[in-house]
Amino acid sequence: MTVSRESFYGPLDDVSGDAGYTEHPERVGFFTDTSVCIGCKACEVACKEWNLLPDDGFDLLGMSFDNTGELSANSWRHVAFIEQPAPLRESAAAREADAVDLGLPSFDLPGAGTGEETRTDFRWLMSSDVCKHCTHAGCLDVCPTGALFRTEFGTVVVQDDICNGCGYCVSGCPYGVIDRREGDGRAWKCTMCYDRLSDGMEPACAKACPTDSIQFGPLDELRERARQRVATLHERGVTEARLYGEDPNDGVGGDGAFFLLLDEPEVYGLPPDPVVPTRDAGSMWARAGVAAAAFAAAAVSVFFGRSSR
């Protein structure tokens, strides 16, 4: 196995091959199209049922309909709910009227109305988050025990019988996904239902999703489908639609689980520009090598220098 610079950063065509699989199936992933998510949380429940996860406690969080809060050792899918003013679009009346009535300036005392007079459109965004199964997975790169490994499907999985709970992976994940379980200590996260994949089945969350917001399949196909979906939405005036995590040139070499979002990633609690912390590992090794060589050269030159005296 050769370790190229691409093993740490940048686009990587054959992620499983790079991990040492000579023959392997296509890389698979999730495309989560949040524009059709209805926030039913069937993905969360299906995931817990299949993977026998513990519940996360019965706490009302007061964050819209989100009582899961975040991805954690016990919740491998998390549906975010964001209530916000919608971007202003042309109203129906405005579409029909050609002339624009500028009207007369008027004054209202602050607080005189109920608010509904000035109210713009309102929207409620929902999005099911999950482990990104990065092309360059920080968690995997820093795992000292080999508990985290790259599967033949190109996904990233923790082996619970090897993990020693050191927690390096927790700080190694640029998305804050992987987490240690309280009272257990080991690290847990989405496996993309590795056991189901091995039996030719799709992951439980994708299977349960009633509106196909969560789509599972070969990553290349999903990326193509996602680009078409964005184009369709743009044609329909949903110009804020954009993909997140699909770009192989991003800080993690592209995600195995990417998203169609309707606002900036921060709005959904996603980092805008994630970078694998081991990005510079390759060049660091190279520099370390140069430095070591220089030291060695210096050391050698000391001896030779001495003998030449």
Binding site: V36, I38, K41, K48, N67, S91, A92, F122, W124, T211
Partner: protein, 895 residues
């Protein structure tokens, strides 16, 4: 409208998303911004309980701008039919129709008849309401004496034709009125009108979806009538992509009205016999007119086949096919009447199968007090629900109204098998039967309902085997001989055999029937539910058809089986023009094949197969043969869709906006405030909050509405026991707008309590922009919303939201008005124990609530001056019922 489909029917909602992906525009009109609104193209908030004003506005918009699909309306609806000269509209009577009796608060509908259809004497509005007669037309229209020879004006100009009556009736439902009553801006309203009317005509259709947000009102049936009128005016019934889709409240609720768990219905929407019916002939004549059109004319075939299925060999022509064995009803035996009778000591035993009324029914307190006053109660459920444990954990324990050591009710709990542990069918919204196989064996003592009822019947039959009492004959004669599987004393009955018996057989050959057209009234056929005949056609269990949609056309006739006759779109004759040609290539479904002389198409034609489009019946003909070639509505007595209902709807021939029973608003359209025919119960234990013209309403200034969350199942019996669901919505909360929160000092996540004259309920506050204050007629009205899934049992508990509601019913269906009431909301937790009772009493004092509040239903200013007498109930000491037979459709667990 009236539906939160994405949350309450998430699996079905995938098809809405599919339609949206194909370019359909999705509009959501609902009091609050829900997960459905989030996915719709547009959300229009309106005040809970004002839907008919909105829909009336749409009807007025269509008629004033000539936007109806005129060819369809002229040919397929009763728009051209003339109505009796005696008919007087709400326009003339300040919100009442002619025939109103202020004494009983009911209508004599005889003046609503067509001009020369023979008059049907219906001077018994009171009886019709008591028996929720409107509900007895679930698979077709009510009776008319004659379906032919009705006077018409094809030009639709005659002042007494239905079209003109409709135009006059809705003329005051202007955009301005919609704005003042519903709080919907003119721009939003007209946008909805434009979108709806553009999805009409030969090339386009629109589908209307409603759920219990429409049914659970004191005029719920009229909400649906209003929606149906719009869809008919736009030509959207019987056509692909059209229709009025009633999303049912639970799995197989459609099934439980088809084969009913209702006191006033027999299978297939045959009405339950009445104490007045002398015999079968008398009964049949009360269902259908001698000269009426269509398939209800064959009611005799359906009832005799049912009697043969019930009593087999014992049912003979000589004994009227055991018609006398059927129970007779003589009044209101609905679920709420039964509960009040329980409190009054008139009922001593009660069965609860898959119901949790202590939490799920309106006025939960009334339900619990009723159940606490029985001799015995049988509960069959998956877990120990509140209705099985009320004697030890009801809120009334704390107030001292129920004490475990004194509660006389003996509760028998039987663990039930879940849907994956038994086989059988579900019948869903689209009238489709789908067979389920048993996936796992039930554990321990868990058993199917089929097992329980079968063996209960068997043991009862054994108990009365030697009896000579006439009363026991129906049980002794019962053909209770279903096939069983396995051995031992209590084998499992075969669901497959039950389905065969529902399908029916020819008794002379023993062959299974292929269709309800084969049913006979001479005792040679038997069928347990005539509309289900054909589910076992050709000896094949068609409910078990599972051809993938990718392997058939989009009508998907090979998936499951839909009644009647596997037709997927009802009244689909209307998908073709009067000449029998598809309205357009794009919207083609069923058409006339002149070459073969029959109707054909993608769907099973819902019409007599060989009746050509131009056919005209002779005057006075009856039954299916009397259907003209352009009579698509084959279950209606005149073959047409009814814009105006000359009979069958007990609270008016046309929908009319009345305010809800409890409302902060006066009726801006008429002097008549609320529905004049709504069913009210004047009882001390069922108080109402005041509504105009009564004073005191300001004590309960906010509009209250309640509904479901995706994460929980109705009364919580199937979700509060499960950690994975409980953690997703762990606590009861109340949604308020930021403005109301500021007004009442409510903070997000803090405690608050909601108060009505019945109860006070604690909840955590959720302040959200999704709740929006409405400006109504110059004032601001706030709405308050709560989910209703919590109770004292389970992994997550909470107060019971349904305790806030009182009992006031739609007279057609006896469904409670649980989607709208008035309330107050205060920061902090409610008082507990006896202090709670004092707190509520103080609220009632301040609002001036007495037992009479809300019960004087007539407020219109007409010549009649007396007000309607409410039903007052004095405790009676005689006539205890042996058991209650509660109805268990949507009204249960949906309140």
């Amino acid at each position: 409208m009236g539906s939160n489909m994405a949350e309450a029917h998430p699996v079905g909602f995938q098809w809405v998303m599919e339609a949206k992906a194909r370019g359909a525009r999705v509009l959501h009109i609902d009091p609050r911004f829900t997960r459905t609104s989030a996915l719709a193209d547009k959300h229009v908030p309106l005040r809970a309980g004002s839907d008919i004003a909105f829909l009336g506005g749409v009807i007025n918009h269509i008629l004033s701008n000539d936007l109806d699909f005129r060819e369809y309306v002229q040919a397929y609806t009763n728009a051209p039919f003339l109505v009796s000269e005696e008919f007087a509209d709400t326009e003339d009577l300040d919100g009442l129709f002619s025939g109103y009796d202020p004494e009983t608060g009911t209508y004599d509908t005889s003046t609503w008849q067509y001009e020369n259809g023979l008059p049907e004497h219906s001077a018994e509005g009171d009886r019709h309401r008591e028996q929720s007669a409107g509900e007895q037309h679930g698979s077709g229209g009510p009776k008319l004496e004659s379906g032919t020879g009705i006077a018409t004006d094809e030009t639709l100009r005659h002042p007494r034709c239905v079209f003109q009556i409709l135009k006059r009736h809705f003329s005051r439902y202007t955009p301005e009125m919609v704005e003042r009553i519903c709080g919907v801006s003119r721009e939003d309203f007209l946008d909805v009108c434009r979108a709806w009317t553009s999805a009409s005509g030969r090339e386009h259709t629109a589908a209307l979806v409603y759920s219990v947000g429409w049914t659970q009102h004191s005029m719920g049936a009229q909400y649906i009538r209003a929606g149906a009128i719009i869809q008919l005016l736009l030509g959207n019934i019987g056509r692909p992509g059209g229709g009025v889709l009633a999303l049912r409240g639970h799995a197989s609720i459609q099934g439980s009205t088809d084969i009913p768990t209702l006191y006033n219905l027999l299978p297939g929407y045959l009405p339950m016999p009445d104490a007045r019916h002398a015999g079968k002939q008398d009964y049949v004549e009360s269902i259908r007119g001698t000269h009426q059109k269509g398939y209800w004319h064959n009611a005799d075939d359906y009832i005799v086949s049912l009697l043969k299925e019930y009593w087999g060999e014992a049912a003979t022509a000589e004994n009227d096919y055991c018609f006398g064995h059927l129970p007779r009803i003589d009044g209101d035996h609905g679920t709420y009447r039964t509960v009040m009778d329980m409190i009054d000591g008139k009922v001593f035993g009660y069965f609860l199968l898959g119901q949790n009324p202590a939490v799920g029914s309106a006025h939960g307190r009334l339900q619990r007090l009723g159940m606490a006053n029985l001799d015995w109660l049988v509960v069959r459920d998956l877990t120990m629900i509140e209705s099985a444990e009320f004697w030890r954990n009801a809120p009334e324990i704390e107030t001292g109204e129920i004490a475990a050591e004194r509660c006389r009710t003996e509760v028998f709990f039987f663990p039930a098998a879940s849907h994956v542990e038994k086989e059988g069918t579900f019948t869903q919204t689209q009238r489709m039967l789908q067979w389920r196989d048993r996936a796992v064996e039930p554990r321990g003592d868990q058993r199917s309902e089929l097992w329980f009822i079968y063996h209960l019947g068997r043991l009862l039959q054994r108990k009365v085997a030697g009896s000579t009492d006439d009363r026991d004959r129906p049980l002794q004669d019962l053909a209770w001989d279903y096939r069983t599987e396995g051995d031992g004393e209590f084998p499992e009955p075969s669901a497959d055999d039950v389905l065969r018996r529902i399908n029916g057989a020819d008794l002379t050959t023993g062959e299974l029937l292929d269709s309800y057209l084969q049913l006979r009234s001479d005792g040679t056929t038997a069928a347990g539910c005539w509309i289900y005949s054909g589910v076992y056609a050709g000896g094949v269990n068609r409910a078990r058809n599972r051809t993938a949609r990718t392997e058939q056309d989009e009508t998907a006739l090979e998936w499951g089986w839909a009644w009647p006759a596997n037709r997927r779109v009802l009244y689909n004759r209307a998908s073709a023009d009067p000449q029998g040609r598809p309205w357009s290539e794009r919207k083609k479904l069923v058409w006339w094949d002149a070459g073969r002389g029959e109707w054909t198409g993608h769907d099973v034609p819902d019409f007599p197969k060989n009746t050509p489009p131009g056919f005209e019946p002779e005057y006075g003909e009856a039954g299916p043969g009397a259907l003209a070639g352009d009579d698509p509505f084959i279950m209606q007595a005149d073959g047409k869709a009814w814009l105006f209902a000359p009979s069958g709807v007990v609270d008016g021939p046309l929908p009319t906006h009345y305010e809800p029973h409890e409302s902060p608003m006066p009726n801006l359209l008429y002097g008549q405030q609320g529905s004049p025919a709504r069913k009210v119960y004047a009882r001390g234990d069922n108080p109402s909050n005041p509504a105009p013209p009564e004073s005191g309403g300001e004590v309960f200034p906010f509009v209250f509405t309640a509904a479901r969350l995706t994460e929980h199942h109705t009364a919580g019996g199937m979700s509060r026991q499960l950690a994975y669901l409980s953690e997703l919505q762990p606590a009861l909360f109340v949604e308020v707008s930021p403005q109301l929160a500021a007004e009442r000092g409510l903070a997000n996540l803090d405690w608050a309590h909601v108060v009505t004259s019945r109860a006070a309920v604690d909840a955590r506050v959720m302040v959200t922009e999704r709740m929006r204050p409405l400006r109504l007629d110059g004032r601001v009205v706030h709405q308050v919303w709560m989910p209703y899934h919590w109770g004292p049992s389970g992994k997550v508990d909470g107060d019971i939201v349904n305790d806030l509601l009182g009992v006031v019913l739609d007279p057609n269906t006896l469904i409670q008005e649980s989607k709208v009431a008035t309330c107050d909301i205060r920061p902090g937790r409610r008082p507990r124990g006896r202090e709670l009772l004092e707190y509520l009493a103080e609220y009632r004092r301040r609002a001036g609530v007495t037992v009479e509040t809300g019960t004087h239903v007539m407020t219109a200013d007409t010549t009649a001056s007396e007000t309607a007498a409410p039903e007052t109930t004095e405790p009676e000491t005689t006539g205890r019922d042996t058991t209650a037979a509660p109805d268990t459709t949507d009204r249960e667990e949906d309140a």
